[in-house]
């Protein structure tokens, strides 16, 4: 009982450290530096401690300090309670998704079974989907409570865009469900140890899910809700200081979430290609059972977050490559192209499964 509780606490602390503590701040730097490299600029390099710039990494600290000390501004006529509440509503779902995300398999450590997922729900995949759909409210309420027309326009675009792409997301998830026959994310991950990875079995599902999830996160090319050139900053126009920082953080954590879900559903979760857990264990057999398990665990967690990092990199490349879609183009893409295609994907997957059986 107590040891289970302790293990769960360690897992929660690990996940919070790696998302809120590591990925979110470092990604703010990566985004600037990567865009600079892609556009042949130098990028963030001015913040220094006693002459050391560390490739501009100190900008993370400078940013944090700036956000903490900025004035927290609430516009006149705004709904104060909802205005304060909405960044929280936006940030919580981004972190909450990781409750069901497995970042490793099951390991036998000194007589204790360690399953590297905080909560192994049997409806894990739907849980991810449900939490993603709740995230909409943070953005919608933010725009409405600001008493600003730009914000309101931004949040209306957010609402319609997120509803539209949720449909596609849900339908592509069904394809994955049909292939692996489980909604438990750990099962889907484990099935890819020896079986084919998701992107081979569901290539169209992968592409559509990727597109829909970028749209859900409202990043370029789907960033009409916060289009700078049209709406100042969309739904968070009237936010400053740490409240703005929370919206910012939610976006970056969501990038990590998207990377994690893509990895689990389509890219073999924590597994290395052609190397089963048993193979890895036999490689470290000379260390004894528990130590071998420990090392394999570290390898798997490393592999998982390596894949996640790769998908974050891909998202950043997309963000700095494509221009923004117009609002009506986003709607057209969602309802007239992705939705029928994802329906076809479900039917096609069903037919293939039927034919193979």
């Amino acid at each position: 009982m107590w040891i289970d509780l302790a293990i769960t606490m360690v897992k929660i602390i690990f996940i919070l450290t790696i998302t809120v503590g590591f990925f979110a701040p470092v990604l703010t730097w990566v985004e600037r530096k990567q865009s600079a490299i892609m556009q042949d600029r130098i990028g963030a390099n001015r913040a220094d401690i006693m002459g050391f710039t560390a490739l501009g990494l100190f900008h993370i600290m400078a940013d944090g300090l700036k956000m903490f000390t900025k004035e927290d501004f609430i516009p006149e006529g705004a709904n104060r309670a909802l205005h304060t509440l909405s960044p929280i509503i936006a940030l919580i779902p981004a972190i909450l998704t990781f409750a069901v995300v497995p970042f490793g398999g099951v390991y036998e450590l000194w007589g204790t079974q360690v399953n590297l997922v905080i909560s192994d729900l049997n409806v894990g995949l739907l849980f991810v989907f449900a939490i993603a759909s709740l995230a909409t409210y943070g953005y919608v309420v933010a725009g409405w409570s600001s008493n600003n027309n730009w914000s309101l326009l931004g949040s209306m675009r957010t609402a319609s865009q997120m509803i539209s792409y949720e449909v596609t997301m849900g339908l592509t998830i069904i394809g994955v469900l049909m292939v692996y026959g489980s909604m438990r994310l750990t099962d889907i991950g484990a099935a890819q140890e020896t079986g084919f990875w998701g992107f081979i079995l569901q290539p169209f599902g992968f592409l559509m899910f990727f597109a829909a999830s970028i749209a859900e996160n409202k990043r370029i090319p789907f960033d009409a809700p916060e289009a700078e050139s049209e709406l100042v900053a969309g739904y968070f126009t009237e936010y400053s200081g740490l409240k703005f920082g929370m919206f910012f953080m939610a976006e970056f954590i969501e990038m990590v979430t998207i990377g994690a879900i893509l990895t689990i559903l389509f890219f073999g979760a924590w597994h290395l290609p052609f190397l089963t857990t048993a193979d890895l264990l036999s490689m470290f057999d000379f260390l004894g059972d528990s130590f071998a398990n420990l090392i394999v665990m570290f390898i798997h967690v490393g592999v998982f977050f390596g894949k996640v990092t790769f998908f974050i990199f891909v998202q950043m490349v997309i963000r700095w490559t494509l221009p923004r879609f117009r609002y009506d183009q986003i709607m057209k893409l969602g309802w007239k192209m992705l939705l029928p295609l994802s329906l076809l994907n479900v039917v096609g997957t069903g037919l293939v499964i039927l034919a193979l059986n």
Binding site: N79, L126, A130, Y137, V140, V141, M156, A159, I163, E166
Partner: protein, 168 residues
């Protein structure tokens, strides 16, 4: 142990439901309604109906309420519209609905009056999983399920037709 989770959830749901009715701003009501639905989802989880709880969050809290909010924001109600008032022509309809609701509540009370509190029934294997809900939907309840689907389809087509005649 279960009551320890149930009572706060139930209390929160009831208070939020009251706020839905008595809140002055429409958006505030909507936010309270979302909170109430999440509370209900929590009660479903206590009843071991995990799949139903998740569906409650996805369909009601996640999809339908976003549309509600969208409409509320689009209408952008003026002060005059947000005042509390009872429409004359709706009085009889509302009263009839209320009487029916009391009947439903009586039926519930009647059914659960003999039940022992704090002695949960034994839960069958697989109860509340997606597999079991799906199987019973497509075997025991296939007719109501199909009727409901056709009803939803008809409503969807109706909405499209209504909206289209406005646009053209």
């Amino acid at each position: 142990m279960e009551l320890l989770i149930f009572y706060p959830l139930a209390l929160a749901s009831i208070i939020l439901a009251l706020f839905v009715v008595f809140n002055k701003s429409a958006i505030g009501s909507a936010v309270c309604l979302i909170g109430m639905m999440l509370g209900l989802a929590g009660v479903f989880i206590l009843l071991q109906a995990h799949f139903l709880a998740i569906l409650q969050v996805i369909v009601y809290a996640g999809a339908i309420m976003v549309l509600f909010m969208f409409v509320i924001m689009l209408l952008n109600l003026k002060d005059d519209d947000t005042k509390w008032k009872i429409r004359e022509r709706n009085v009889w309809l509302s009263s009839a609905a209320g009487v029916l609701m009391v009947g439903v509540l009586y039926k519930f009370m009647d059914a659960t009056a003999d039940a022992e509190f704090n002695s949960p029934a034994t839960v069958p294997e697989n109860f509340g999983t997606a597999e079991l809900v799906g199987t019973s939907l497509f075997t025991d309840f296939v007719l109501p399920f199909e009727v409901a689907s056709i009803l939803l389809l008809a409503a969807m087509v109706g909405a499209v037709v209504l909206a289209k005649s406005k646009v053209d």
